[in-house]
């Protein structure tokens, strides 16, 4: 029996900042910025939120929807590029906060924006091999762009959690493949507060090359074509890239709209594809086919071919907040409050 998604949960912090407000501070044309990125606002974590608290909320939302003993979760992996500690795992905090400790394995993953989907792959392998009954894979981030850097318009916060298992599967993961090369398009060196990137180099040789090759490889492996899928979720560093990559690959706008959240919440990095997939699962029906392809700078892509099972009809989605509920529960803040919340202001004490 193959592995699949037993439950999922999402979390998006409540605060938002408008792209136009960020542009105002840096003397840029807000409307032009917003249009060129296809992003209107981005989520901002509260002053007491970080990747661990976001991961925990997402994991608890996943557990609210399913009746499983947390002690049956044999592995917790948290993918993020903004772990609260450089040394000391986020995963052990999450495991403690959901009551899964102590008999489990846990670790943090880092692969820019794709660490969360890699965590799903590891859980699939451990479940399929019989090492564990359930695995918890989370992608969560509170990403930061340097003040004034183009990244600041999109770098946001959010996450989603997936419980992977063999029993009570609501969406079967038929197949997964990856595509990885050494491509230095985006990085953050040890001790640096903000990441650096290669500007336009993050496009063609990085995002597009990896997503296109990985998606094609997956469809060749399982013998599918774009029209076989009801929904497609591509990594979404902005609103434009996923729309363009979908067009290049032959997917329609209708296929990607449900899972495209960046225009409203920005780029949640490791949370991006997991959240997009969660938005699709919020509305998916039995038999629906989903393709989800992540991208992490550095660089690599993970692609998943998923079929929604009949079990989703019995699955109490309403026990946790839907992605759209989280998107729509928001409070706008100005740049000053944003700078305070994101610790861009240093107190003189």
């Amino acid at each position: 029996m193959s592995a699949g998604i037993v439950s999922y949960g999402a979390y998006i912090p409540r605060y938002r900042i408008d792209v136009g407000e960020i542009a105002r501070v840096w003397g840029a044309d807000g409307e032009a910025r917003s249009k060129s990125l296809a992003v209107y606002s981005k989520s901002v974590p509260g002053p007491d939120e970080d990747t661990a608290t976001i991961a925990i909320e997402a994991a608890r939302n996943a557990l609210r929807r399913v009746n499983i003993d947390p002690k049956d979760i044999g592995a917790v992996f948290v993918g993020s590029e903004s772990h609260p500690y450089v040394v000391k795992p986020t995963a052990s905090i999450v495991a403690e906060a959901i009551g899964a400790t102590p008999y489990l394995t846990a670790a943090d993953y880092e692969f820019a924006c794709k660490a969360g989907t890699t965590a799903i792959q590891t859980c699939m392998a451990m479940v399929k091999s019989g090492m564990i009954k359930y695995g918890l894979a989370i992608g969560a981030d509170t990403s930061q762009g340097a003040p004034g850097d183009p990244l600041e318009y999109t770098a946001s916060a959010g996450g989603a959690a997936y419980i992977i298992g063999k029993e009570g599967v609501i969406a079967r993961i038929n197949h997964t493949v990856s595509y990885t090369t050494d491509t230095p398009d985006f990085w953050r060196r040890e001790g640096q507060k903000y990441p650096s990137h290669g500007g336009r180099f993050t496009g063609e040789p990085a995002y597009f090359k990896h997503i296109i090759n990985c998606t094609k490889h997956l469809m060749e492996s399982v013998g599918t074509k774009p029209s076989d899928y009801n929904y497609a979720v591509f990594h979404q560093p902005n609103g434009k890239f996923p729309m363009r990559v979908a067009k290049i690959l032959g997917f329609t706008k209708e296929q990607i709209t449900t899972g495209l959240l960046t225009p409203y919440i920005g780029n949640t990095y490791s949370g991006a594809v997991p959240l997009g997939l969660a938005a699709v699962l919020d509305v998916a029906k039995p038999g629906d086919r989903i393709i989800a392809v992540s991208f992490g700078s550095g660089a690599g892509s993970d692609a998943f071919d998923i079929t929604v099972e009949d079990e989703i009809e019995n699955y109490p989605r309403h026990m946790g907040p839907s992605v759209m509920e989280l998107v729509e529960n928001y409070k706008m803040v100005d740049y000053a409050i944003y700078a305070k919340f994101r610790r861009k202001i240093h107190l003189g004490v």
């Binding site: 509260g46 007491d48 403690e96 928001y330």
Partner: protein, 146 residues
């Protein structure tokens, strides 16, 4: 805060684990070894229970002059929350404006950062409460698709 002191309370702080007296049924938080009602009859009958995290605001105050580490959150709300199981806990109310808070307001527990030992020290996580929103419309409003 000393690391062992925080570590010892992780179970309670992360998951609201309290105790229930199996003699009289009363629930306590933080955990107690002896029931103050049943005294020695309760010895050996105090059971660990995970509380639901749902409750209502019993009383609250708005802090305008913050203590250290809370400068970024001023003004913030501290409340006594009466949990559905009975115990009352003191905690911060977050993700809402102080003007929205009222006695009797339904809240639910979340895990947040409650402090840290400077930039290089341990980060302390613990429970805070957020409003129990029955619908997303309780927030600023719906995003219109532009």
């Amino acid at each position: 805060m000393a690391i062992p002191r925080f570590w010892r309370h992780i179970g309670s702080r992360y998951n609201l684990v309290g105790t229930k007296c199996k003699v009289c049924g009363k629930v306590y938080f933080p955990p107690r070894d002896v029931c103050p009602v049943c005294h020695r009859k309760s010895l050996g009958s105090m059971e660990r229970v995970k509380l639901s995290g749902s409750g209502k605001i019993y009383s609250y105050t708005v802090i305008h002059t913050p203590q250290k580490d809370f400068e970024m959150q001023t003004p913030y709300v501290m409340a006594i929350v009466e949990l559905d199981e009975g115990p009352r806990v003191t905690a911060q109310i977050v993700d809402c404006d102080p003007s929205e808070v009222h006695i009797g307001m339904r809240v639910r527990a979340v895990l947040r950062r409650i402090g840290e030992d400077g930039e290089g020290g341990i980060i302390y996580y613990g429970y805070k409460f957020v409003p129990e929103r029955t619908s997303a419309k309780g927030a600023q409003g719906h995003l219109s698709v532009k």
